[in-house]
Amino acid sequence: MAVTAVVVIGAGPAGLAMSACLRDESIDHVLLERSEVAHSWRHERWDSLRTLTPNWMNRLPGLPYAGDDPDGYMTAAEVADSLVRYGQVIDAPVQTGTTVVALRPANPGWHVDTDQGRWRCRAVVIATGATSHPRIPTIAAQLPAAIQQLSPTHYRNPDHLGPGRVLVVGASASGIQIADELTRSGRDVTLAVGEHVRLPRTYRGRDIHWWMDTIGLADERWNEIDDLARARRLPSPQLAGTPDRRSCDLNALQAAGAAAVGRVVGVSGGRVQCSGSLANLVTNADLKQNRLLDRIDAFAAEAALNDIASDRPAPTTIATPRTEVSLAGIDTVIWATGYRPTYPWLDTALLDRRGQIIHEGGVMAMPGLYALGLPLLRRRKSSFLDGIGADTVDLTTHLRAHLDRNVAAA
């Protein structure tokens, strides 16, 4: 049995950031990684994916963005490369090819059982990521076997698909980007739209993430938010990090040739049934976007940042509202219906009824357990690379105090 102070599970951005902070505190630790550093960013992303945030925000503790394109958006491969470099620079003690199979209290401390043996430690940081498991509705099983079904973790590029029509289910960041790429490659694309968050790529000449950061929205704390459970469930915004900085909303997609229909609710007689509630969903998304832009306008007027006029996006219109899509000619369905991480190695008492970790700003109910790298963990920007740093610093402080108490009690 190996012994350390802190076991960090996962060596992606969150795990590595935690390693950097623990190292600064001279806290002995190990990172257990099922595969290799930045595995998901290297192997579970499509070819054209770029970060949703501009490069200047793609920073981690001790790793400022150092490239020459601060307003651009790095590709998933570039993120993976920079994470590997980061791991080397901070000399992260990563044990690769190690899968955790159980986490149990050891009184005092914890036992982390892996397929490579047991670790004993005083604290555990779970940093396994928010997008490790695509969530695919059970309705998928009702589609004809001849149709190829993919999730965004397996989709690569248009050339990998059959020649026919494509149904993309889900219009958040993943779905809208994949639908956009397929439409531009000449495919006949139908996009099924559920609840979504609409954002323009730029507003008044600046990136929307720059605005959210500047007006303080990105820093809003988890304990200041009205309906936190709902806010944490919100899908990622309709944004793409394309070099031309164009907005990737339903109006743009339809103009490019895609058809938008409501949420997929059934499969019947060679047809996919779609909800008739799309009009309400797009109205809601437009209203919410406009409330954000109102806030930005008010801030811009105060801070004399209104040098560039408001360029508010047009209201969303749905060209031909339909409640069914014929499956004739469709040979691929892409389920971009979100992600739901699973924790089969964790005591179910630590999970809510959706199987998600119960935590207060990353601090779990049992002393010495932490979660990191989840949506809105401690602030709105926790959902992006840029939020990991501040969250990690906060949790390191808490963890340090836990270890000190632990020592005093021993």
Partner: protein
Amino acid sequence: MTTTEVPSVDNGVNVAALLAAREALTAAPEAAQFQWRARCQWVYGTHARTTIEDFSGLGTEQSHRTAFAVDTDHPEIFASEDNAMTPVEMVLAGLAGCLTAGVAAVATNRGVKLQAVTATLEGDMDIQGILGIDPDVRNGFGGITVRYEIAADAPRAEVEAIVAQSQKRSAVYDIVTNPTNVVVTVA
């Protein structure tokens, strides 16, 4: 962390009770299982009378303050006696009632006083479907429009947001916009 603030406006909706119920049922999801019931009796011709009295919920049998009866029939142009509204019009009434109750509840929750709320509903139907003339035409509505006119102490965007939220939380809106398994048997 959940705060239950009692809103300061009165639209006749007890929002505090609704918020308390939401909190209580989050902790006890089994009590949230309700069953709604209706009993229908054929009168004569296309005329039928549906009676509604009991339901179940909060883990026990419940009943309305009194039994309610609604009649349905077909109009004279369908060679019927027009003793009552058609069942499809009752669907519109159900949708209107549900959305409007939602508007009042959401407005109260958001501190918006309502002066007047009027909804006008139109359901378009090609009756070639129900008459079996064209199998490609569905029996039900091809589409429904609901137009609200609302007088309230709030800017237009806030009123629009209230109406949008009401749809999001409406049972009948969901019933009408999404498929539901229906099993009909003969005893």
